[in-house]
Amino acid sequence: MKRLLTKSSGIQTNWIWLFALGLLTAITAMAEPTNAPAFSLEEVSRAMGKAKTVFTRFVQERHLSLFNEPLRSEGVLCFEKPGRVRWEITSPYKSILVSDGSGVSQFEWMDEKWKKLDAGLASAMQAVIAQIAAVMEGRYASESRDYIVSLAANPDGPVITLVPRNETMRKMMQAIEVHLAADLKGTRRIVLRETGGDFTDIRFSEQVIGLELPVRTFDRNAPLALADIVQAAGKSKAQH
């Protein structure tokens, strides 16, 4: 199995990158709103660079052709420049993927306590985090070596679509759609469209931008309890 995982790690890395890029696009697009009703990718990119922190809840539904009903999970996403990410699943199980900018850790809630995993593909995950910084700096739209990026108008808001340039990648992932709010104040959803009809739909809610995230939010050894982060987000929202 190790051999198999090692062999496929290159592909997995790309998939992780794709997935993360989708998320990151969402994160970074939650930047300061622009007043202009119409905007270009460059303008979106510039707006991205302004968001220093983001807190958002999400509902993720994986629609699989093998089953009638989607696989649903809920959680919280936190981001802080430079390159700090926390992707926490809260239901139907508990799991944390966290990066402090220098490395990635994964935790699973087992036997009524958090257990830190010796995560495989950690270096690949860290490479993903490095991409975050690049996106946050607004280089996303101008340096799209891996994707064909397009922007489309939609009644509910603009949609950025990323199509992999690499043919092998396209065999697995058709496109990533990032649905932004009409006023660019946030990202409504991200859709990861796989080849063959399966897709993952991530819907965001309760987004708080520019909040003061508690110190240990991105701690890779003992990440802060989610309740404390939620409290901080609540306070920030109330103040605004």
Binding site: M1, K2, L4, L5, S8, I11, Q12, W15, I16, L18, F19, R62, L64, L66, F67, E69, L71, S73, P92, Y93, S95, Q106, E108, M110, L117, D118, A119, G120, L121, T168, K171, M172, M173, L192, E194, D198, T200
Partner: protein, 243 residues
């Protein structure tokens, strides 16, 4: 003379070391393989039936479950979700899903055969059939008929299947009254090649029986920690119900 004594002492130490090592190994083997005490013929027959009935009815006839899995391979851990759907077509359909999408999908039929129904570049088809299908078969599919039953020296009951198509004998270990399944061993040539511990029994809405919500597997090439986090019972349509 002192040199001879030293040599003898060295040999004695080496022998003692080897003996200790052998003892440890034998200890491990005896710990891994239980001493099964035979049961009286009638008792054995009753127990085989009871255990089989209990295992066959452990999970609902039709359901959809979600599992969270942590797989350890060469000390590295990987997480994924499993979606298992059991329906009237007599098959167990499992999809393994990671953050990256579906990794693989397998179908295990009631006759024990299996097939890969979803193949991706992330996971080899042979690996899906060899390892994933075996996990489904061993942990979720009711066992075939038991051919023998006995009692372990700690009082628990054990039932064995005949040698399966994969060449192994499955040994199901239950608590003394046979009501709760605790362990599964698959033995091949007298050696244990697969061991599952089942614990965390709990009920889920719509299914009165407690099911094992935690499964820990130790196989030759991997370890698997499985948590059953969701179990949705599918109701069978009433006989004669309009379609």
């Amino acid at each position: 003379m002192p040199k001879v004594i030293l040599m003898l002492q060295a040999r004695a130490s080496l022998a003692a070391g080897l003996f200790a090592f052998a003892f440890l190994l034998s200890g491990c083997v005896s710990r891994c393989h239980y001493q099964v005490l035979p049961l009286d013929g009638t008792l054995a027959q009753d127990f085989k039936l009871t255990a089989h009935e209990n295992l066959a009815g452990l999970f609902p006839p039709q359901y959809r479950s979600v599992q969270r899995a942590v797989i350890t391979v060469s000390r590295k851990q990987f997480t994924c979700d499993g979606v298992l759907e059991v329906s009237t077509n007599d098959s167990w359909n499992l999809a393994i899903v990671s953050n990256l999408g579906v990794v693989t999908g397998v179908r295990v039929n009631r006759d024990g055969s299996s097939e890969a129904v979803k193949v991706t570049p992330l996971f080899r088809e042979s690996w899906a059939r060899q390892f994933v299908a075996n996990d489904v078969r061993r942990l979720f599919v009711p066992p075939p008929e038991f051919i023998s039953a006995g009692r372990l020296d700690d009082g628990r009951m054990v039932c064995e299947t005949a040698v399966g198509s994969e060449g192994g004998v499955a040994r199901y270990i239950c608590i003394s009254d046979g009501q709760r399944w605790q362990e599964l061993e698959v033995l091949r040539g007298g050696h244990r090649e697969y061991h599952a511990l089942l614990r965390g029994y709990r009920t889920f809405a719509g299914h009165a029986r407690e099911v094992p919500a935690e499964m820990e597997v130790r196989a030759k090439k991997y370890q698997l920690h499985l948590r059953l986090v969701q179990l949705d019972v599918k109701r069978q349509p009433a006989p004669g119900a309009a379609r």
